[in-house]
C-alpha cells in the first residue's frame, strides 16, 4: 500500500514539473518577440496570423489532393493560385521581419534627429499629440507633409511641422531595398507626443 502511495505522490510531482516547465517555456517564446535595442514593439498578431495562414494552406493542400473530379478543376486552380499568393506573402513577410533590425535602426536615428530639431512650446501639455503623414522619395527627401491629427494648439502644431521642414531629408533610407522602403518608409506617420 505504502509503495503505491509513494509512486502516486512522485507521479503527481513529475506531472507538476512537466506542467511548470511547459508554462516557463511558453512565456519565454513570447518575450522573444520584443526587441531590446530601441524598445520596438512588434504586435504579436504577426505570429498568430502566420500560423493561421500555414494551417489554411495545409488544409487546402489536403482538399486539393482529395478532390479528383473534373467539375472541381476550376476551383482547384483558384485554390492553387490562392495558395501561391499566400506563399508569396509569407515569403515577403519573412524578408520584412529579417529587415526589422535595419528598420529599427533607421527609425531610431530619425527619432533622434527630429528630437534635436523640435523646440517644444510651453503650451504643450501631457496627453497632447499631433500626427503628421510623411511621404518621402527614394532619396529620402521629404516630398509631402500632411497633418493627420492636430493637437488643438497652434504653437504646438507649428513647432512640430517646423521640425519636419527643417529635417528635409532622411538619408538613411537610400541603402534600403525597394520592397522594405516601399513597405515602411515611403509613407509613414510621425507622432509628436511630449512626455
Amino acid at each position: 500500500m505504502m509503495k503505491w502511495l509513494t509512486a502516486l505522490f512522485f507521479s503527481i510531482i513529475v506531472h507538476i514539473l512537466i506542467f511548470l516547465s511547459y508554462v516557463l517555456f511558453a512565456t519565454e517564446s513570447v518575450e522573444k518577440t520584443t526587441r531590446k535595442i530601441t524598445n520596438v514593439n512588434f504586435l504579436d498578431d504577426e505570429l498568430q496570423v502566420k500560423e493561421e495562414v500555414r494551417e489554411r494552406i495545409k488544409s487546402q493542400e489536403k482538399s486539393v489532393k482529395k478532390e479528383d473530379s473534373e467539375d472541381l478543376k476550376e476551383t482547384k486552380n483558384k485554390e492553387i493560385e490562392n495558395l501561391q499568393e499566400y506563399l508569396k506573402e509569407e515569403e515577403m513577410q519573412k524578408r520584412v521581419s529579417d529587415n526589422a533590425d535595419v528598420i529599427e535602426q533607421i527609425s531610431y536615428k530619425v527619432i533622434k534627429d527630429i528630437e534635436a530639431l523640435w523646440i517644444r512650446p510651453n503650451s504643450a501639455k501631457a496627453g497632447m499629440f499631433a500626427d503628421f503623414n510623411l511621404s518621402i522619395n527614394r532619396l529620402g527627401i521629404i516630398e509631402n507633409v500632411e497633418m493627420k491629427k492636430t493637437s488643438g494648439d497652434r504653437a504646438f502644431d507649428r513647432a512640430a511641422l517646423n521640425a519636419i521642414r527643417k529635417y528635409r531629408q532622411i538619408k538613411y533610407v537610400r541603402n534600403l531595398d525597394d520592397q522594405t522602403f516601399q513597405a515602411y518608409f515611403s509613407n509613414f506617420t510621425l507622432r509628436f507626443r511630449p512626455e
Binding site: F42, L43, E52, S107, Y184, F188, R193
Partner: protein, 417 residues
C-alpha cells in the same frame, strides 16, 4: 523613452504602417532675426532693441545681431532662403513703424524660413509716448506665436527699495525700466501685493511704528487702512475675486490667519493654534489658502479650506519651508532650506516631487509671473539685496539691474490687457 510602433496588418494588406513617436525636444532657443521693414529709422532701431532684449531675457530665443547675418533683406520679397537656412534661423521678424495721426503704431510680420512665407501679421496700436510699452506688446505677440503661452514683457513689477533710511514702493515695467514711485517713507514697507484686476495694491507699512495693511488705488492714489488695530497686521493677499483680503494678525494673542471682506469689513479667523501661522496665499479658485506654520516645530507649508477650515500639511521634506504661493492648481513654490542655503523650490502636489529651482544662496520672497513660467525673487550678494529671476521652462536665470542700495519684496502684476 523612444517608441517605434510597427503595426503589421498581415493577411489583409501588405503595406506596413510605421509610426515614429517623438517625445523629447531640443532644449535650445528659437533662432530669429528682427529687421526693420523698408526703412532704417531711429525709432525702428529703438523698438527692435526693446524687443530683442525682451526676447533674450526669456532665454527661449536667440536673436541674431546684424553682424551675424549673411544678407539683410528690406522686406519679405528680398529674403534669400538659402542664407537663412545656413544660419539655421527659424524666422525673421519684420517690424514697421507706422506714424498715423500722431500715434505710433507698430506692424510686424513673422516670416518663416522653412516655409519661405509670412506666417503671421499683426499690428500694435500705440500712443506717441508709449514706444517701449508698444514694443513690449510686440514681444509678447512673438513669444505667444512660438511658445503658445502669453508673454510677460508688457506686465509690471512692484518692489521695495531702500537707500539708507528712505524706503520706496516702486512700480516698473517688467524689464526694470520706467519706474514710478508709489510711496516714500522713512519706515519699512513690506509685502506688496497686486489685486487680480491690477487696479489696486495692498502692502504693509510701519509708518505708525507697527505693521499695518493699507490698500491703494493705482489710478487715484487713494489709500485705505484695512484694519485699525493696536496689534500687528501683515502679509496681505487678495482673493481671486478681489472681494476678500487674507492677512496675518496678532490681534487675538499670537500670529493667526484671517480673511476680511473689504466691503462689509467682516473678519473671519481661519487658524486657531498656539504656533505662528503667517504668509497666506490664495489658491487660483479661491477655495483654499496656503500658509506657513511652525506648529510641527519647524516652519512648514499648510493648506486650509476657507469654508470647511480643514487643514493639511503640504511640505514634509526639509526643516524650513516658507512663503509659499500656488503655481497653477497642482504646484506650489516656496523658500526651502537645503543644507545651509535658502533656495526657491517647487513642489508637485500630486506626485509630491520637490525640485529646487535656484542656485543662489539666500533667496526669499518668490513671486510668479502671470503666465506661470517665470519666478522672480530677492536674493543677497554679501549684504546687498537684488532681484533675480528664473524661467521655469528654459531654466535660464537672470538678474534685474539694481539702481538702488537694496531691492526686495517683488510682486508681479497680472496681465494688463
Amino acid at each position: 523613452m523612444k517608441r517605434i510602433i510597427f503595426l503589421l496588418f498581415l493577411a489583409y494588406e501588405f503595406k506596413a504602417d510605421l509610426v515614429l513617436e517623438i517625445t523629447e525636444s531640443a532644449s535650445k532657443p528659437v533662432k530669429i532675426a528682427i529687421l526693420e521693414k523698408n526703412s532704417n529709422s531711429l525709432s525702428g532701431q529703438e523698438i527692435i532693441n526693446v524687443i530683442s532684449n525682451d526676447l533674450k531675457r526669456t532665454g527661449e530665443f536667440k536673436v541674431l545681431g546684424m553682424d551675424e547675418l549673411l544678407s539683410i533683406p528690406m522686406n519679405e520679397s528680398e529674403v534669400i532662403q538659402r542664407d537663412w537656412l545656413l544660419l539655421d534661423v527659424d524666422s525673421i521678424i519684420f517690424v514697421e513703424v507706422q506714424n498715423e495721426d500722431n500715434n505710433l503704431d507698430i506692424a510686424y510680420s513673422i516670416f518663416d524660413i522653412s516655409y519661405n512665407e509670412t506666417e503671421d501679421k499683426r499690428r500694435v496700436l500705440g500712443l506717441p509716448d508709449s514706444l517701449r510699452q508698444s514694443s513690449h506688446y510686440v514681444s509678447d505677440g512673438i513669444y505667444k506665436y512660438f511658445y503658445g503661452i502669453e508673454g510677460i514683457s508688457s506686465t509690471k513689477l512692484m518692489y521695495v527699495t531702500r537707500n539708507s533710511d528712505t524706503h520706496k514702493l516702486i512700480i516698473s515695467d517688467a524689464d526694470g525700466f520706467n519706474e514710478q514711485v508709489l510711496l516714500k517713507s522713512n519706515n519699512s514697507i513690506i509685502s506688496p501685493a497686486w489685486s487680480t484686476d491690477a487696479k489696486e495694491i495692498a502692502y504693509v507699512s510701519f509708518e505708525n511704528n507697527r505693521a499695518q495693511v493699507f490698500t491703494q488705488n493705482l489710478a487715484t492714489g487713494k489709500r485705505n487702512l484695512v484694519l485699525s488695530s493696536k496689534s500687528s497686521v501683515s502679509s496681505p493677499a487678495w482673493s481671486p475675486d478681489n472681494k476678500d483680503l487674507a492677512f496675518t494678525s496678532t490681534k487675538d494673542g499670537n500670529s493667526e490667519i484671517y480673511t476680511i471682506n473689504l466691503k462689509s469689513k467682516k473678519i473671519t479667523r481661519l487658524t486657531e493654534n498656539l504656533a505662528i501661522d503667517t504668509e497666506p496665499a490664495w489658491s487660483p479658485d479661491g477655495k483654499n489658502i496656503i500658509f506657513t506654520s511652525d506648529r510641527s516645530g519647524s516652519p512648514q507649508i499648510y493648506e486650509i479650506n476657507v469654508r470647511s477650515k480643514l487643514k493639511r500639511r503640504l511640505t514634509t521634506e526639509g526643516n524650513y519651508n516658507a512663503r509659499a504661493s500656488y503655481l497653477g492648481k497642482n504646484e506650489i513654490i516656496f523658500v526651502h532650506r537645503s543644507n545651509i542655503n535658502f533656495n526657491i523650490a517647487k513642489l508637485d502636489l500630486g506626485s509630491r516631487t520637490l525640485e529646487v529651482l535656484t542656485s543662489t544662496k539666500n533667496d526669499e520672497s518668490p513671486c510668479i509671473a502671470p503666465n506661470g513660467n517665470v519666478i522672480i525673487y530677492s536674493t543677497k550678494d554679501g549684504n546687498l539685496s537684488y532681484l533675480a529671476g528664473i524661467n521655469i521652462s528654459s531654466k535660464v536665470s537672470f538678474k534685474l539691474p539694481a539702481l538702488y542700495g537694496e531691492l526686495k519684496e517683488p510682486a508681479w502684476s497680472p496681465f494688463l490687457r
